[in-house]
């Protein structure tokens, strides 16, 4: 005879198990998410639930009165997303009790994310819980599970190196600028070239409060276009020597065949501001900045390879921490499951 004890469950799919094409079909916009939630709230035997819906995962966390109501979950998802049951065969995973807690801990801590250790997911889990709480979809079990999840995620983040170090080129560049200038608010950023990577770098500096962004390009109209997107000023390449004397960070990403910034240009600029460091970021291939410029005092030159190496190092460091994080979370999972099991009347 099948056990009728309540179960804590996780039901759904994520980037770990499902390819992008399928995730696109499973993706829930606001309407679909609302439809699914309404459906679940009307499903007999589902006593609590929360819906975590991000670009990389659609996951339902909940409490069911027994195994029987769980059989309706696949149908609910299939009907909401418009997928056929055949399409969802083997796609949606069900985890129960201890395993469900373990998975939620890993998700909230960023261990299950595509970019290991990223923090955005914790905000998304909090958002999912807040919504469920506000709409009274949760109850005592899920409330406890989510609160403990947030504590566990915070503990892992503060006691391991899982979130340390940037892993995108633009963020690594911003971090390096922090090592040179500390506060980035008084920093003037010059972007040479109107390409996408230069724009992303400019935006990364802008998000950290850089004082000004100037975009210099061979074609002024392109510079104006990029400057408008980045919220900065446009300039022509002819003005480069003048702007260089006042710039603190220069990110260059032109398609020029030779050096756009020569050692002589940089040395001349530094003569006018010897006490203020100059951080040169060469994002171009072939390189825009003469590497010999790094010999000029107070000038720091980094190219794409340098930044990529730092990003790779940071990612490797994060991945090396994953096992340690899992070990920390495993202890907490056991402790929480013992509490939850008592609440559910589960003797496991």
């Amino acid at each position: 005879m099948e056990s009728q004890q309540p179960v804590l469950f996780l039901f759904g799919a994520s980037h770990q198990t499902v390819p992008l094409a399928v995730r696109e079909k499973l993706a829930l916009d606001a309407t679909r998410a609302s439809t699914l939630a309404t459906r679940l709230s009307q499903t007999p035997g589902i006593t609590e639930f929360a819906l975590l819906n991000t670009c990389n995962r659609v996951e339902l966390y909940g409490v069911a009165s027994g195994p029987a109501p769980l059989e309706q979950l696949a149908t609910a998802v299939a009907e909401t997303t418009g997928c056929s049951p055949a399409e969802l065969e083997g796609v949606l995973q069900l985890r129960q009790n201890h395993d469900a807690i373990s998975h939620l801990f890993a998700v909230a801590s960023g261990l299950d994310s595509q970019i290991v250790g990223e923090t955005e997911i914790l905000g998304q889990v909090k958002g999912a819980y807040d919504t469920a709480l506000a709409r009274k979809w949760t109850g005592p079990v899920l409330n406890r599970v989510f609160q403990k999840t947030f504590q566990a995620a915070k503990h892992v983040r503060t006691h391991t190196r899982i979130g340390e170090g940037q892993i995108s080129i633009a963020s690594v560049a911003v971090d390096l600028a922090g090592k040179i200038y500390g506060d980035l608010h008084p920093v003037n950023v010059l972007v040479v070239g109107a390409g996408d990577i230069g724009l992303k770098t400019a935006q990364a500096f802008q998000s950290r409060g850089a004082k000004s962004i100037t975009v210099a390009s061979r074609t002024l109209s392109k510079a104006e276009e990029t400057a408008a997107t980045a919220g900065g000023w446009a300039a022509s390449l002819a003005e480069l020597p003048e702007i260089l004397a006042t710039a603190d960070v220069v990110a260059s990403s032109t398609s020029a065949p030779g050096f756009v910034l020569t050692e002589a240009m940089i040395a001349t600029a530094m003569d006018r501001r010897p006490a203020r460091p100059l951080f040169l970021i060469d994002l171009a291939l072939p390189r825009d900045i003469d590497p010999a410029a790094s010999e000029v005092p107070n000038v720091f030159v980094y190219n794409l390879d340098d930044l990529a190496k730092i990003a790779e190092g940071n990612l490797a460091q994060r991945e090396a921490e994953v096992a340690r994080c899992h070990a920390i979370l495993a202890e907490r999972t056991v402790a929480l499951w013992q509490q939850v099991a008592r609440s559910l009347g589960n003797a496991d």
């Binding site: 503060t158 006691h159 190196r161 390096l176 922090g178 090592k179 040179i180 200038y181 500390g182 010897p274 006490a275 203020r276 460091p277 790094s294 005092p297 107070n298 720091f300 980094y302 340098d306 190496k309 730092i310 190092g313």
Partner: protein, 282 residues
Amino acid sequence: MSSLPTDRALLWLGALLYLAGFLTGLVALLRRTPDSRRRTWLNALLIAGWSVQMAGLYVRGLAAGGCPLGNTFEIVQFVAWSAMVLYFFVGTAFRVSLLGLFTAGYAATLALASLLIPAWDASRSERIFGSNPWIELHAALAVFSYGVFGLLALTSIMQLLQNWSLKHKRLNGLFWFLPSVVQLDQINTRMLGLGVLILTFSLGVGASWWIRDTASVDQGKLLVTVGMWLAYLIVLLLRWLAKLVSVRFAWVCLIMFIVALLSLGPVNSSRHHTVTLTPSDR
């Protein structure tokens, strides 16, 4: 040797607490202990070490009947004590990452070296300031300025390390925790200004008494002291005019302090006159 064994015992304890602070901080850093916990332990040990060291110097002062600056041992202890005082102010004001660790290592080195070299404490000049508190103030401020220059040398080392790590793209480990280049440069400039100001005031006080009794100060001491002051003043001016910046500025500050430390010997050995000023001198 000291007539009061308890002062040396206290100074030993102070030095060992500085060393414990340095080692604790270093281990915590290598283990990546969170900043706040690392700082709390380090600062607790440094405050304890500083208090015990001050107690030791106080006992010495009671025996000497004035500021304990009667031999190289006492001067070096006072320099370490001054650096720690400054760290408590500078570290708190600027929240300079790793400065506590560097200061702990520096103070422990100075304090332990002074305790382990018996010759530095083999004899001491008695009542070197006579009964004149102004001369005592002059000497205390001069040695305190050395404490400032000592801390400046530490932040200069930090700047050299940070510059090297950024130039050579070696940003792992301890390097990542160093303060920014700009922050270190600002601290160095302010520290240099403060040191020069204190030394200038100290020399001003000394000079006002010296002109009343020029024979009271040895020529060698005068030349070395004024020479050091002038050199630091020139460095400050060059930095202010942006003629001496970045790595060169840091190197000069570091070398200057080594020279200043080496000059302590000649200054101390030439200071055997007891300045006794009569009421008519005042």
